[in-house]
Amino acid sequence: MSTIDQIDVKVVAIEQVAPMIKAFTLEPLKGELTPFSAGAHVVVEMDGSEQRYRNAYSLMSDPNDNRQYQIAVRLQETSRGGSIYMHDQVALGDELKISPPANLFAPAWRAKKHILFAGGVGITPFLSYLPLFKQREVEFELHYLFRSHQTGAYSAELAAEFGDQCCCYDADQGKRCDIAEVMSGQPLGTHFYICGPESLIEAVRATAEEMGIPASAIHWEEFAGAKPGLPFKVELSRQGIELDVAADSSLLEALEGAEVDIPNLCRAGVCGQCVCNVTEGEVEHRDSYLSDTEKQSGQVIMPCVSRAAGGRLVLDI
């Protein structure tokens, strides 16, 4: 059958593309990779000595290239381990497992024009947009905000290739992006995309609302996955076991650590695959998948990002 499970890949190149960002080129151990669509991501599985990490990374290579994939990883100061592992442990020739690509951040192809806001390592999904924008001759602008002491990968190459269509704002050189100015005067039917920190997403959304730009024309992807919180206990009522969820571990990771298999894709509270039923305890919802009604009901949780609001949760697992 035409199914793809996890894909075994080998690291064939590692490049420091910014002070805090490394790019990894991955080739399949056998056969070809599947092509993918602009904005797609894969989940990379890393077998650490003490812990298994799974992080989602945007594919930034040309979507039509089925020989290799490229991802970029920013070293996160508050990392729960995955990005540190990628930076410090992964070496040329190492083997990793990745999921098949999934896409929660595709371009709205019917837009009249596309305005991309990239913040730091948030440039990665847009790198897969650009070859297709070029091929389909669509109108676009890329606004790339970064701090060259940390990020800013490929900024010189992008500026050289796309000229006026690419504006770089290096905060470490005192260059700021006037978001309102970028967004004003754009033709009707323009769509706006943001990939970057929450503050950038909020700034663009707020500006859009002030300007009366419909919410349906704003698309964003947060690259942050689970954030740490307070430790808590979780009881799996059907299995009759209790687990500790450490401060820097997600509930999903704790479940996986106990070999409880939960389907998942994005590990960032967006795709909805890992939803679990809650029978006791209060939830601190941190996802953007559940509706407000579902959140208020307190009966479901997205374990990839959300946590207990108190010391204990009981799940119907």
Binding site: M1, T3, I4, P35, F36, S37, P100, A102, N103
Partner: protein, 339 residues
């Protein structure tokens, strides 16, 4: 394929369609429990049931292949708009053609051969005596546009959904054997819109959950679900457009002919993500089995009786069974020892 294609039989007029004993044995009987209830009932489209099962391969080719392809030609000749493709779906159609040709050639090498040299492709379909050379991605090099071309060579109906604006839109398809719906009517609609008429599912949030699930479907992990209804006579094309030709047949059912004329119609629906276009394809493969053939399997006969007996009123109406549902239950009762 364990069931070789047989000579052409008809799904209209004289209805010469029959199922062999082997075809009855491999029929995808859809009811897992005695009481029927709605659910999202999606499972991974992995092989199931072993050699010869309807779930052995990605695409199931069976003894009705030639008959269904002949029926499709008749429908399309009459109503070319049973195949509709919006301009932005071209890439998705090529991807579907690729997925189908690759899996048919792998799974049925005695009938289908695909030879690829970069974008230069050669496709041989020995069952339909087709041998074409073409350039992948260039519609001018195929005798027909890609969906129209491959759709005439694969059993089942097909729809392609574009994913945008937080929803799925039915923007292309080939539909010649639908269970009382119309592609021309649903084309361009969102997932929520075309499921609008389905009773009972909206309060339970089933449509919402199914849509969110499909929108997150990854590449290479197709899923399937079963759907069913009852059809009078072995008629493949029960579309809204031809209602005038088949609607009145519901009144022809009597207690004497119900076993022979009522068919359990099962759809195996396979949903799959296309890698480059991010479109979701759905194939709807229809299997027809008369009640009198169905009751040759004792376990099915009992299960079928109990399921029909507990079917909610709203579903009886929605599925168009009102005129003969009682006769179906009475006919099946004789095979259920609990009665």
């Amino acid at each position: 394929m364990r069931v070789a294609p047989k000579e052409i039989q008809s799904f209209r007029d004289d209805f010469t369609y029959t199922n062999s004993a082997a075809a009855i044995e491999r029929f995808p009987f859809p009811f897992p429990e005695d009481e029927y209830r709605y659910s999202v009932n999606i499972e991974a489209h992995q092989p199931k049931g072993g050699e010869g099962s309807a779930f052995e391969h990605y695409i199931d080719i069976d003894e009705h292949y030639l008959s269904e392809m002949a029926e499709r030609e008749l429908v399309l000749k009459d109503m070319p708009n049973r195949c509709l493709v919006m301009e932005h779906m071209d890439l998705a159609c090529w991807e579907m053609l690729e997925r189908y040709m690759v899996s048919l050639a792998e799974d049925y090498p005695e009938h289908f051969t695909l030879t690829r040299d970069g974008d230069s492709w050669r496709w041989e379909n020995k069952l339909l005596h087709i041998d074409d050379h073409f350039t992948f991605g260039d519609s001018a090099t195929l005798p027909r546009p890609p969906l129209d071309y491959i759709g005439r060579q694969v059993q089942g109906d097909f729809a392609l959904m574009d994913q945008r604006e937080g929803n799925l839109f039915m923007d292309a398809g080939m539909v010649t054997c639908p269970a009382d719906w119309s592609l021309a009517f649903d084309a361009g609609m969102s997932f929520d819109e075309w499921h609008g008429p389905v009773p009972m599912v909206h309060n339970e949030g089933i449509i919402d959950r199914a849509r969110k699930y499909l929108m997150a479907l990854p590449v290479g992990q197709p899923v399937r679900r079963l759907n069913w209804t009852l059809t009078v006579n072995a008629r493949m094309d029960t579309s809204s457009e031809t209602y005038n030709e088949w609607g009145h047949e519901r009144a022809s059912i009597t207690p004497e002919n119900v076993g022979e004329k009522i068919y359990l119609r099962v759809e195996v629906q396979v949903l799959d993500r296309m890698p480059r276009s991010n479109a979701v394809t759905i194939s709807i493969r229809t299997y027809l089995l008369s009640l009198e053939d169905l009751v040759t399997n004792k376990a099915w006969a009992v299960r079928m009786h109990r399921t029909m007996k507990t079917l909610p009123e709203a579903l009886i109406h929605y599925k168009g069974l009102t005129r003969f549902h009682g006769m179906v239950v009475d006919y099946l009762a004789q095979f259920d020892p609990a009665n």
